[in-house]
């Protein structure tokens, strides 16, 4: 480890590594990525792998549509097949209320170029024959789908290394030095580093990292649990997310059915141990949606952390109280944004100007109270109006 870098990125997940790769692609900056555990040990390796852009708020749609376009090219660019598949992303409603939410947003999604359309009960029966018939309808985004989450981490790590980025797994940041309102360096358990720019890509631990620089960010970290079943022959092609059940699920290339739900009375916590409460919620909802899963066995259950801002939208870009401290956190749909957040934050660091596509997600919005509330998110916990 050298003692001086131009940029230090805290967090060796998909986001940190994507930013490192994108920044070294467009600049000659000396970049270090610091990760407390192994690469991809946080939410990057624990998420639902979903990719879509059919959201309900313009800023979300524009940003994620750009991300979907980037997903189509990254396997070739990184020379690593991240197994991105555009099998279709189906957002489901089982109540008329949630169906109305979707009917209200789909027109705008189409105007902004998202390849999506409303599907009724009969059409859903055709494309997802194993789904329950107790549904109102849904929106199918044909350009959406999923990719292999671990592969994304490895692909970016490999490509970034090839461009000269230095990556330090199993290195913990102890504190961040700020002098006269400017970042001057960080202290890790493996040594001190001088740097003018620190990026906070610490996922579930983003608030603690921000606090080290004296910044209070309004995120709270929640724990989400997921399950994987034994591998089965293909029975579900599309990615499915269910608004009423607050659940998301798909069948991986290996054949495992993987999904997670958000249970009622969802409280902030950073404990990674699994609970029976969540297990029962997931099992009940998945069997409700896919009755055929009733006799299928669960093989694994795990927990991941998700930081949620008051409006459940991410926080991107500089904070104006500490110069050189850049946020890439508060992600609730972080996985699908990986290529886009890296690309635009790299532009920000290189030019010093906030790219317009991520402007709405700036930290300033909490001061100006320009909250970005997207009604189609499968996250309900923290939204405060």
């Amino acid at each position: 480890m050298n003692n001086k870098y131009d940029v230090v990125i805290i967090g060796g997940g998909g986001h940190g590594l994507s930013l490192a790769y994108n920044l070294s692609k467009i600049s000659n900056l000396k970049i270090a990525v610091i990760e407390k555990n192994y690469l991809g040990s946080g939410a990057s390796g624990r998420n639902g792998e979903s990719i879509r852009s059919a959201f309900g708020h313009d800023a979300w749609i524009r940003f994620h549509e750009e991300a979907v376009n980037l997903w189509e090219t990254i396997s070739a660019e990184l020379k690593f097949n991240v197994m991105f598949t555009q099998c279709g992303y189906l957002v489901l409603a089982t109540s008329p209320k949630k169906m109305d939410v979707m009917l209200n947003t789909v027109k705008r999604q189409q105007e902004l170029g998202v390849k999506c359309h409303v599907v009724n009960k009969a059409e859903i029966k055709k494309i997802v024959p194993n789904l329950t018939t107790n549904i109102e309808g849904g929106v199918l985004q044909t350009s959406g789908g999923y990719a292999r989450h671990d592969a994304v981490v490895w692909a970016y790590a490999k490509a970034a290394k090839a461009l000269g980025v230095e990556i330090f797994p199993f290195t913990e940041v102890k504190s961040i030095d700020v002098k006269n309102g400017k970042i001057t360096g960080i202290i890790t358990d493996k040594g001190d580093i001088e740097t003018p720019i620190v990026v906070n890509s610490a996922g579930g631990h983003c608030a603690q990292i921000a606090a080290m620089a004296g910044i209070e960010i309004p995120t709270q970290t929640y724990r989400l649990e997921m399950i994987a079943t034994e591998p089965l022959k293909p029975f579900l092609k599309q990615y499915v997310s269910a608004l009423d059940q607050i659940g998301y699920m798909h069948q991986t290339a290996r054949g495992e059915f993987i999904g997670g739900t958000e249970p009622p009375n969802f409280l902030p916590s950073m404990d990674l141990k699994c609970t029976m409460y969540n297990l029962k919620d997931m099992a009940s909802k998945f069997v409700e949606l896919f009755p055929c899963l009733s006799g299928v066995k669960i093989m694994r259950q795990w927990t991941g952390l998700m930081p949620i801002a008051p409006d459940a939208s991410p926080i991107l870009g500089p904070v104006y109280d500490v110069e050189g401290f850049i946020m890439d956190c508060g992600w609730t749909y972080g996985f699908m944004a990986t290529p886009a957040s890296g690309k635009y934050l790299a532009q920000l660091i290189k030019t010093g100007n906030m790219p317009s596509i991520i402007q709405p997600f700036s930290f300033e919005r909490f001061k100006t109270r320009n909250f970005i509330i997207d009604p189609t998110l499968v996250v309900e916990a923290a939204i405060t109006e």
Binding site: Y38, L39, G40, S41, G45, T132, T133, N134, D150, W154, K158, P169, T229, E230, P231, R254, L272, K273, C274, L279, K280, A283, S284, K285, F286, V287, E288, P291, L293, S294, G295, V296, K297, I298, M299, R300, Q301, W302
Partner: protein, 95 residues
């Protein structure tokens, strides 16, 4: 090569040779090795491969066996059907 294989992971057909090559390729952490090769993640949940993988990993990586960290182990210990846990009164039955 060919059909004479030394199988470590019976669930995903991972051989000893596969594990050694994967460690050489840079998947040199037990968690990363697990995710890359699929060991521990088959229907036996690591009951067939577990210690054998750790031994090979320790020999190949030079990390003493005693220094490997015992991870927190994810439930369930045996695979259980979703329908057993699902609250059948909760959802509408549509057989």
């Amino acid at each position: 090569m060919g059909n004479n294989k030394e199988i470590v992971c019976f669930c995903q057909d991972v051989t000893k040779e596969d594990l050694i090559r994967s460690i050489d390729e840079g998947y040199d952490n037990i968690e990363t090795l697990k995710r890359y090769t699929g060991v521990f993640m088959g229907p036996c949940q690591g009951k067939t491969c577990g210690m054998n993988v750790l031994k090979i990993f320790s020999e190949k990586s030079g990390q003493p066996f005693e220094e490997l960290k015992v991870p927190s182990i994810r439930p369930p210990v045996v695979p259980i059907p979703l329908g057993a846990i699902a609250n059948s009164n909760n959802g509408k039955d549509d057989e």
